[in-house]
Symmetry: C2
Subunit: 396 residues, 2 copies
Amino acid sequence: METTFDFLSKQAKSTPPSLIRAILKAMQDDEIISFAGGMPNPISFPEKELTDSMQRVVKDYGSKVFQYSITAGLPQLREYIAERYNKKYNLDINAENIIITTGSQQAVDLIAKVTIDKGDEVLIEKPGYLGAIQAFSQYQPNFNPVTLENDGINTKELKRVLQKKKIKLGYIVPNFQNPTGVSYSAKKRKELFELVQEHNFLLIEDDPYGELRFEGEALPYAAGGKTTNSILLGSFSKTITPGFRLGYMITKNDKLRLAVNTAKEAADLHSNIFAQYVIWDYLINNDFDAHIQKIRNLYQEQCSAMINAIKEFFPNGIEHTTPQGGMFLWVTLPQGMSSMKLFEEAIKRKVAFVPGDPFYVNERNVNALRLNYTNASPETIKIGIERLGALLKEVC
Amino acid sequence: METTFDFLSKQAKSTPPSLIRAILKAMQDDEIISFAGGMPNPISFPEKELTDSMQRVVKDYGSKVFQYSITAGLPQLREYIAERYNKKYNLDINAENIIITTGSQQAVDLIAKVTIDKGDEVLIEKPGYLGAIQAFSQYQPNFNPVTLENDGINTKELKRVLQKKKIKLGYIVPNFQNPTGVSYSAKKRKELFELVQEHNFLLIEDDPYGELRFEGEALPYAAGGKTTNSILLGSFSKTITPGFRLGYMITKNDKLRLAVNTAKEAADLHSNIFAQYVIWDYLINNDFDAHIQKIRNLYQEQCSAMINAIKEFFPNGIEHTTPQGGMFLWVTLPQGMSSMKLFEEAIKRKVAFVPGDPFYVNERNVNALRLNYTNASPETIKIGIERLGALLKEVC
């Protein structure tokens, strides 16, 4: 018998399938040079070292690595993370402030779940990370997108929003933002921290790319670790392996952490404990910083190749960001030009990118697009950008 | 600065931390014999074979096992599951009907998320699985608990509920139920299927223990695979390893599966792909059925030891179920006796169980409790039950 009424919840009905999936489907063609994905280069997966760690943790910990475990995550991994952040960012956090999550995506979802009621005011960047927009959307907040500039969010615009609206939760990617590659300046970080304190909202600083800096110097987080209004997110997906799905949430807000822990219990009990042991063993038995330096060097070379090719092949009037790290850059087309329409043409020319639309809450046919440079060689990048440049010269 | 308003969503406020966690905390004493957990015996973890599979999949598939992957899960693992269910239960399902989830707990959570609106009518067993009650509670349904008898749910009571209420979603554990160890008879399964068709509600049959049958014969699922109103859940947690957090959802309901897939994208993008490769490689390169038979033999021995000790040491007037498989049995105390109060005394006597309360939506101080027999030797089981029996003789 067929279902005769619709079983979907309002929440599910309000969450359309990701545009990205449709885009990736359009790309099942080996001849397409894709700058659309967000995949790390396989060089970032220390295959041999991880295989060694797997054997070692089975030998050292036996059935513990295969058994049920606690929701918050492996204590020694949380201690490692706390120490690294304390040292690197001069914070004062401990293992108790950390919950290991099934990718940092899970942290975004669970934080949204335990904080957002329908209609709550939420602050995001414009353009903003589509995985966060997607996760937040499920809980039906009122989105307040604030323009992202080359040195971070427009704080004047933000102040106007904060005066009009009681913002509950804000979400930013402070380093090498997805989709733009933009990083927040020290000035913008300071201003943002002052606004968090003045207007008392929760600020998520999602930082999956922070370790991948290939130019300039690391800056302190805006609010990270300094207040119970702060939540820091991190991930091993871009530095060790995304396949293991391990990220983490750091916050000194005990109530929030307890709520996330309870929600995580209902969501998946705990994250893969074997994977947690392996990552921890890898971290303490290898030179993690040397490994990261290799990734940085590669991405710097790939990013340069893309920017050089853009300068060589794109027509005048097209702007691009110049990331100091991370995986993406952002291209702004002439006013009025739709990157969605350009995408359809580009696929025919065997080159792909992500049109800007999914990074905005309401705007459609935006004149900007995201390019990923981490998963193609400099040579391939040049060919792909040349194809895109030829198309742009025709349509601009 | 301290948080001056409460950031928690209504949903989070309505989800109290699990009672189980408080119980487990009370038990951090090595001298306590615990029948409270729900952990598989480590014999069920094929450590050597899994370690072999790990090395093989890294060798055979290289960076693929560490990279991002698709949300629905590894196609060849889904094919294996489909074939096994088709053969074992005479179903007609394929890989497309399956989504791999981060434990079957995630499937319960995501199904609830995409189907339950506040106030929707949901059917559960009384007593019922607390992980499902917890996951459902987040979405604030109206619970309709129906009495579970020794051969399954009371169908007369169920019919009365179905006449009064428009049930949207039902949840049962057809084999060796958690917490009771009870299995549904063929008659009850047939009746339930008829009611699903007549009243057109979604039925989740959560079956993590089905493979662990040590007595009697496997029965067909109630609705499983026969209608788009059916959702079957399964898990590798009880047969290979819970630490990997891999379960799955099987349904021919395309709309529901798409909604779950979209929600899973926002929840964790996909489940650990390395773990999926390893489980799949293990399954195709080893005699899985022989492995399961070892677990069954052990659990049968442990279950017998517990039942024999109950007969020897418990006073008259105390009832217990006699499971044909799985991990738990259920003890009913004389009317009016609180298992919560008994628990406090039992801890002092160095023996632990889970009081019945968390398996009920509203009832408190219930006169029943859950005993787990899979994680202690027959000798230890005898000593623990003797301790509990001595206490019961004093208070009954």
